[in-house]
Amino acid sequence: MIRVSEQDFVVADEYQALINDNASDGAVVFFVGLVRDFNQGNNVSELYLEHYPAMTQKVLCEIVEQSKRRWNLGRVRVYHRVGHLSINDQIVFVGVSSRHRDDSFRAAQYIMDFLKTEAPFWKKETVNKNISRWVESEIKDYSARDSW
């Protein structure tokens, strides 16, 4: 299940959806990304997330399919928010269930590494003194992706 929405997600609901009537998967890994109060050298007060709607779902589906080809996975859920967010707000959820923990750990990390570099989302932060700036992409995210 892949969803992009302005609405918040509930981690407990996402978790339930991964484990309900799922007696074969013994391992669930998930990642939640949240808005931090500090980024790239500045205090952050707000965040705006823009995306390319027609492309986002397509890219996320492709990343999830790739992860299912590489590892033996049960269920995968990806939820990414867009629009206006505040400090501590949830941005992204990636949850993976599998029989063995190694598959879930790797797949969740793989999905995040590709999402960070290939899914068409852009963050604009409001920093010190109400200045808005577009977040710069980081080299370490490309290194992480290229390590796969």
Binding site: G33, Y52, A54, M55, K116, E118, A119, W134, S137
Partner: protein, 81 residues
């Protein structure tokens, strides 16, 4: 006709989120970008930066031949997650 979309900082610099241009036989992504860059100094400098391109909502890294009716997008490196 080719529909061209711009996102994030690029959209703001160009003050434009989408335009349409006529399709011409043999048009490539490279030609298209080149034509746009000739509009004026702002477009030239904005499109000279470190940008990604998508054709039909798929990221493309090479020059690509376009066909009539395609959607093309230019945007800065992504920063979601």
């Amino acid at each position: 006709m080719i529909r061209i979309l711009f996102f994030a900082s690029l959209r703001e610099r160009l003050k434009c989120e989408s335009i349409e241009v006529d399709y011409e036989s043999g048009l490539t992504l490279f030609d298209l970008k080149d034509t746009l860059m000739q509009k004026d100094e702002i477009w030239h400098s904005a499109l000279s930066g470190n940008l990604l391109s998508a054709v039909e909502q798929e990221m493309v890294v090479e020059n690509t031949k376009l066909t009539d009716g395609m959607e093309v997008a230019f945007f800065p490196p992504v920063t979601g997650g």
